[in-house]
Amino acid sequence: MSVLIENLARHVAGGKLVLDDVSLHVPDGAFVALVGPSGAGKTTLLRAIAGLDPASSGHVEIDGRAMEGLPPRERNVGFVFQNYALFRHLTVARNISFGLDVRPRTSRPSRAEIDAKVAELLALIQLPDLGDAYPQRLSGGQRQRVALARALATGPRLLLLDEPFGALDPMVRRAVRTWLRDLHDQLGLTTILVTHDQEEALDVADRLVVMQDGRIVQDADGETLDATPATPFVMEFLGETLRFPGVVSDGLFIPADAHVSPFSTNAAEGATEALIRPHEVTLRADAAGGAAKRVGRRGPLERLAVSLGERSVEIERPVEAPPSGPVALEIAQARLFQNGKPAVEGNHPWSDASAVLADVVPEPV
């Protein structure tokens, strides 16, 4: 089931735009994650697709069918709420069969068929013996799976998940995540998931839609996002980021910090910022450089705090012998931004994922 969203906007009381001209296409069979900080409009967009939050303007299409004026109950989308919204006066089995039980008599499956469907779904969510339990008795992970089974019972091809892992403890999270991905592939679903946890999104989804302040900032797979983030925000949202302010002059990026080597670039002249991941640097012994000391270690990686005069930054590298003296930083690869926009051709958010990092050629000293 494909989803097409065109120029969707939603105002709330007070005129605030919670969705600002959002366009998005999710092809059949895709697993897409909407990510962004809280208040970015992810949940609102998800609810707009389900018909729970009506849009002020714009267009939503599911499988080529316009959704305007179609109430949620006729859209046949599976929706899993952040807090699961299980009916606590109904057993697990009756929760799962609810969507079938409420059908008019003419289109309702027989009791036996419904029971068979419930048994099948209970087996699918690996809770075959809990049909008669009430939701209160279940753990968070179990409730989550029941909510999912309930959403799947009516056979929707589109599954919408609002922070489905939010209330789970970290141990359960990873297992549920893998299971969910398998389920998606096995049932041939189209899945849209909302999360504020970028790692979770990178793990489970094919594609990430990064949102900020009601807008889609970038829509790409994880690799592209990392290689060519559309804005510094995307870069920072996806992981730890070191920012180096500086200027581009005569084909050289000249950092403002002390003890950081300049490098060549084809970016336009002017104030520029280089953003890197903590591991995208090398250290070079430099008598005039700054002090470096190990501040932590995890597995084969160590973290070093490097003094850059005014400030210090923490970098990451494979564990090796500590530097014997002062060092300078050499940036291995960087994403350059000018006025918050990518500074280098080919470093554009909407370009193909084949775009590569702005290669950095260290200037011979």
Binding site: E74, N83, L86, H89, F98, R143, R150
Partner: protein, 289 residues
Amino acid sequence: MNALASSPSSDRRSPAEITLIAATYAIVGLMLVLPPVLVFTEALRSGLAAALASITDPDALSAIRLTLEMTAAAVIINTSFGVLAAWLLAKYRFPGRGVLVALIEIPISVSPVVAGLVWLLLFGTQGWWGEALNRIGVTIAFATPGILLATLFVTFPFVTRTLLPLMEQQGRDAEEAATLLGASFWRILWGVTLPEARWALLSGVLLTTARAMGEFGAVSVVSGHIPGLTETMPLHIETLYNGYQSVAAFSMAALLAIMAMATVGMRSLFEARMRREEPRKAETAGGGA
């Protein structure tokens, strides 16, 4: 140690605490225990047989029947509409909502006689429509329809008021989940919202029942006091008392008090039950995080 509050570590009550407890017993005894004791003493003054005889007298029986009928009708009507109003006010935000909430609360602050008077202004002989309706053979004032209207007015807010806080607290998630699964409005109301609010609903219904049975002032104004026809139990009590039939009056009063207190007692039980069942939100989100 504190003179005003008992300290959990000490087994002995301080003089201040003993004084306070004594004062409490005195107040409760004089103000709250004596009246019900007196009701039953007066009712049984001439023995149980006389008391029973006075409440099985034809006029008494007719008063009991009228009270039960009026109560049942008022409870059914006000519960049906009260549930819809609570749904509206709890699940939606719309302009004018605050006005509706305020209007629903009004009958609580209205004096019972005013609650009766307003119906005479509409349907009394000098009322706006009383005479016109009379001509086509419809009598509302000084007849049972008037009694029902007065009872409806007096018991108007209770169901909505008890349901509203709980239904607001429940939020809309379960209802949204149900509508996404294809449930219709009635199905959501009956199958999702009300089962989860059942104790509050029951409590509101019982409060409505207790007030409807015991209403005196409003009903007195519109009833016309025709024994055997338009006298409810409270009105019959008044008639008997003013006719110096003390035993009969107190027998009827004892019966009415038992009915009302049983209703209210049941309500306290259900409310305790309601408090034990945590609200929906706390529970479903309770997984952690």
